[in-house]
């Protein structure tokens, strides 16, 4: 290796090492807390004297005031996320099919309305949505969160699915119509199978959006037994002497599944976003 090459390599490392530390440290810090005992957590050491898995045991056995409903809350997060994923997929697929393949009149208007919703920051929409949910009498019902998250996830889902289905050759639909397919048969037998990769990506997107959501969950839900894990984590902040090591152990359990899913699907996620959100 020549000097010049070594110099380039060194310069790359000079960027790479800070980037690695910067990206990983806050997450390592969670991990560090999660495997530290109560006393060593606050010592400021970079590795605990006696690493322990006791915190996880405490979480699983719901051994602390903040964790009395851990499994219930985990389940809430899970079913809400899954339901949001499913409903978003259902609603967005139908809409994208109607707009892109059936070329329904008014489809463009609906698409623009959806895009508009997508770009209005969710934190701003939260205020009117909160009021509306109370008008509908849905506050504190898990369904309010499900419906709110489907509302937030659908616009982007429709957009991405429409982009993807616009790329399917138009002749396929015509061939199917001539072969005798009704619009519903076209949808079921031709459209859905061909859209499968995008559907998986979008379902995942909606599911993760709901799983990760904090703001809407804490606005719309408040009963200990029906809040999601995200809100439950937020509750730890209500006391000054909260068990931070348990919070971090719970946080790790809460944060790892979505991170794993992101890794599995990151190609779709980034691909979809680059194609959709920020075309040059």
């Amino acid at each position: 290796m020549s000097w010049k090459k070594a110099g380039t390599e060194a310069r790359l490392l000079l960027v790479g090492i800070p980037v690695a530390l910067w990206s990983a440290f806050p997450i390592y810090h969670i991990f560090l807390f999660a495997i530290s005992s109560k006393d060593s957590a606050f010592s400021g050491a970079l590795w605990p004297a006696q690493p322990t898995l006791r915190n996880f045991g405490a979480v699983f056995k719901q051994e602390h005031f903040f964790l009395y409903h851990f499994w219930q809350q985990m389940w809430n997060s899970l079913w809400i996320a899954a339901t949001v994923g499913f409903l978003t997929l259902l609603i967005a697929t139908c809409a994208a099919f109607a707009i892109s393949r059936l070329r329904v009149r008014g489809g463009r208007l609906v698409m623009n309305a959806a895009l508009f919703t997508y770009f209005i920051p969710a934190a701003f929409l939260a205020v009117p949505m909160y009021k509306a949910m109370s008008v509908y009498g849905l506050l504190n019902s898990s369904w309010s969160l499900v419906l709110a998250m489907v509302t937030l996830a659908s616009p982007y889902a429709i957009w991405v699915l429409k982009q993807a289905s616009d790329k399917l050759p138009w002749e396929l639909d015509e061939a199917a119509r001539i072969d005798g397919a009704t619009p519903m048969q076209l949808f079921r037998l031709v459209y859905l199978p061909l859209m499968l990769p995008s559907l998986v990506a979008i379902g995942t997107y909606a599911l993760l959006l709901a799983w990760n959501e904090y703001l809407y969950a804490f606005l719309l839900l408040s009963k200990e037994t029906n809040v999601t894990l995200a809100v439950a984590l937020g509750h730890f902040l209500s006391a000054d002497d909260s068990p931070w090591e348990l919070l971090m152990a719970t946080g790790l359990l809460y944060g790892l599944p979505p991170a794993a899913i992101y890794y599995v699907f990151r190609r779709y996620m980034v691909g979809g976003l680059t194609a959709g959100a920020v075309k040059a």
Binding site: G107, F116, P183, L233
Partner: protein, 275 residues
Amino acid sequence: MTSMQRWGLALLVPYVLLFLVFVLYPVLYGFWLARSPAAYAKLFEDPVFFRTVVNTLVFVVVAVNVKFVIALYLSGFFVNTRPWIRWLSVLFILPWAVPSIPTIFSVRFMLNPEWGMVNSIIFRLTGADGPNWLTDPTLALSMSMLVHVWKSLPFWTLILIAGRLAIPKEQYEAASVDGATGWQQFRYVTWPSMRTLYLTSTILSMIWTLGDFNSVYLLTGGGPADLTHVLATLGIRYIRLDQLEQAMATIVVSMPLVLPLVWFMVRRLSRDGTQ
């Protein structure tokens, strides 16, 4: 009406209903709630409000630009093909992939003045006490911006990497044959091809940054003394204080800031859709 149109309308119904019930009606009703001038007078009298507007502008301008300059630089770093850089990119996506709550809390603990990791490292290195990161309003807001940048940097870097990879290699080869230096290559090849992407991304990122509730609320809770609120958290603050009218007024007042950006993005995307 053909059967295609009939089915098309039927399939649009679920989304249209969703939109009417959970977007249009709430928004119209909200605007109606916020119709009285008194609400705005009260809002403008609230000292928190003025501070919030300033915070928001600073937050958006600083965070977005810092983020994009770094993202632009790092996108150039990550297009280098080395096995270790590929591994690093996996690590690099982590902040984006992990949900905000645990990571922001983690930063919050790190910044604890007494037992936080940051100050204990500072103490070990210098023997002096570190600053009170979250009780000084300026520092606290800066830390919120830092968290925001930490969280969203990977996504935008990936977008800009995609932009860089879309530039044909021949252009760089031609430039090096012409004797262009690294900086000149960036100036005359990379930047002209990336300018539009950079602009669109910046606008979109501004919208998302305006709506970033978590980075502020979960780190500082708007404190100390409500001095670090941004518009996204102020509305929620009023809800928590049971002042719905004020909350809606805050949203209405934010619209002149948000709507032009939204309009830009919707136009951009719906034009792409028809091509």
